[in-house]
Amino acid sequence: MIMEATIVSYCKIKNNTVWVNGEKINIDNNSVDFSAFLVNLYRQMNLNYPKFFKMDNLCKLGILAAEMVIQNNSKSENFEKDKVAIFLANNSSSIETDRNHIKTIVNKNDYFPSPAVFVYTLPNIIIGEIAIKHKFTGENAFFVSETFDANFMHTYASIALQSRHTTDAVCGWINVDGNEYEAFMYYIEKKNLNKAGNGLNTHHTAEMIYKLYN
């Protein structure tokens, strides 16, 4: 049986609109600001994960996007969670929370730096949050680039998937900067492509990733 790297689900969240495997999802109330939109989406998904409310917006967006690709894929139940990698990238690192941390230290008469804010001043905390929620303990990497580089992400994930330590990978682009935000995430599984699945099943190629992203 030939196992091929296959994209089994993907998700896009942008302009208060959500697409899963190419289909637009109806959102109850989407004419709200970004923070309220994230909470609406969380409630609509019935996640019941109170930690969500402690997260910054970048992590909230990441947790929701990851949930979409994990809930809506054709994966079989049995897989080793220590072989699931998470590779993400963005443009602005953790700049929104960086600005929030600076607000807490800029005024010496109103000085209140907080570990609850500071911990989110690293972009790979999203990887940590996704790893904790889904118990994925495999490879990690967070890259920062001007725009989403599907060629590079394809290359890096493909190399990892050639190793016996990695069978699956959650990959994508997740950016928050002021009111601008964007999430694009996809789930790759090494599988027998002939086996019927109930979600998206497409070869993991850079061209396909670009196509799904655009």
Partner: protein, 374 residues
């Protein structure tokens, strides 16, 4: 295919070349010291490069007002690697990887009067450094907390062995800023005294700033290779290490499996000198049955240099291998972890052929790599 580790550099308060740094370590000098900054009444024990020193080195190659401190450190470090090796980053076969946690965070703080605020974005910072060298390929940026540097070296190895590039310069860099000092202080993670990794009386981290560069190549440029490298996540807590050392244990185990190395001769550990980190490392090394190996942390000399740490510590480890020197773990006196570790108390000459380098960080991330003589 083999990835060789060649020309390297360290920019730190202990010197602006690797040789200067190694000489300072041999003399037992430390870069961390108590100092005060304009933004706080507190005294911080940290490792900071003097502006005047940085500018006097940098003015020899370019205009000091055009670049931020971090950019100057990176350019000087990469320039040294380029000069030693003759590697031309204008060639498409060669890539620059930059590892950093906070980049030009001082730009966001408003430290510079005439610097475009866009420089606070990591891609803009990386491009500014890349443009100095006329990079044909846009530099790749790895920002993965305290494993950034080691992860960047592992990524470099993978890209070379996958045939994407022939030569890769990895440069890790971070500055000490009000941003990071206030943040780590809010965590009660900072030590007021020079840090004591793995010691019973350790009281926390010293922050440090540094840039460090190293050349990775498919050409046989040296007698040391990186034979394996992997990462793993604890999936436990975003700001605390796993009590049972799961992530580090997994990263180490995968790496030992891949390397086919018969023996590891010493460990260049992460050792931040926080209670939980050092304890976690002792648990992980004990589980991996590596707790008998000579081990050091360099945080007692340099503090925690964040995105630079993995590169700087790898550079020292590789030079240790080349010169058969086990470097004293500064600050260690008494066993202070639940599993006894063989912490190096005195610098000594010993034939060593391979080194396990590890790192762990916020977000539950861990990385491990093996460097060995060919």
């Amino acid at each position: 295919m083999i990835t060789y580790l060649g020309a390297n550099n360290i920019i730190s308060p202990l010197g602006f070349t690797t040789a200067q740094n190694l000489e300072a370590l041999a003399r037992g000098e430390v870069a961390v010291k108590k100092q005060q900054f304009h933004f706080s009444e507190s005294i911080f024990c940290c490792s900071k490069i003097e502006d005047s020193t940085l500018n006097s080195y940098f003015s020899a190659i370019s205009n000091i007002t055009t670049y931020t401190n971090l950019e100057k450190m990176c350019i000087l470090s990469i320039q040294d690697v380029v000069q030693q090796s003759g590697i031309d980053l204008k060639n498409k076969e060669n890539l620059l990887i930059i590892s950093t946690t906070k980049g030009n965070i001082d730009v966001l703080e408003g430290v510079y009067k005439n610097m475009d605020s866009n420089r606070a974005y990591l891609p803009v910072f990386a491009k500014t450094v890349g443009n100095y060298f006329g990079c044909a390929i846009t530099p790749l940026v790895v920002s993965n907390a305290c494993i950034s540097g080691l992860l960047a070296i592992i990524a470099g190895k993978r890209l070379i062995e996958n045939g994407n590039y022939k030569n890769i310069i990895v440069c890790g860099a971070d500055i000490v800023s009000e941003f990071t000092l206030s943040g780590f202080k809010s965590f009660n993670a900072l030590s007021d005294e020079p840090s004591k990794p793995f010691d019973k009386n350790r009281t926390g981290i010293n922050l440090g700033e540094a840039a460090s560069g190293i050349l990775l190549s498919s050409d046989e440029i040296s007698s040391i290779k990186i034979s394996a490298g992997n990462s793993a996540n604890d999936a436990n807590h975003i700001s605390g290490p796993s009590r049972n050392g799961d992530g580090l244990f997994n990263a180490v185990t995968k790496t030992l499996e891949d390397s086919k190395t018969e023996t590891v001769d010493f460990i260049s550990a992460h050792g931040t000198a926080t209670e939980f980190n050092d304890e976690m490392e002792s648990v992980a090394f004990s589980r991996a049955k590596l707790d008998h190996l000579p081990l050091n942390s360099l945080k007692g000399y340099y503090g925690h240099t964040l995105g630079a740490a993995g590169v700087l510590e790898s550079v020292i480890a590789i030079n240790s291998l080349a010169s058969n020197t086990l470097i004293k773990s500064m600050g260690f006196e008494l066993q202070g972890t639940s599993h006894e570790l063989n912490v190096i108390k005195k610098t000594e000459q010993k034939t060593i052929n391979s080194c396990l380098k590890t790192a762990s960080g916020f977000g539950g991330c861990n990385a491990a790599a093996i460097f060995e003589k060919v």
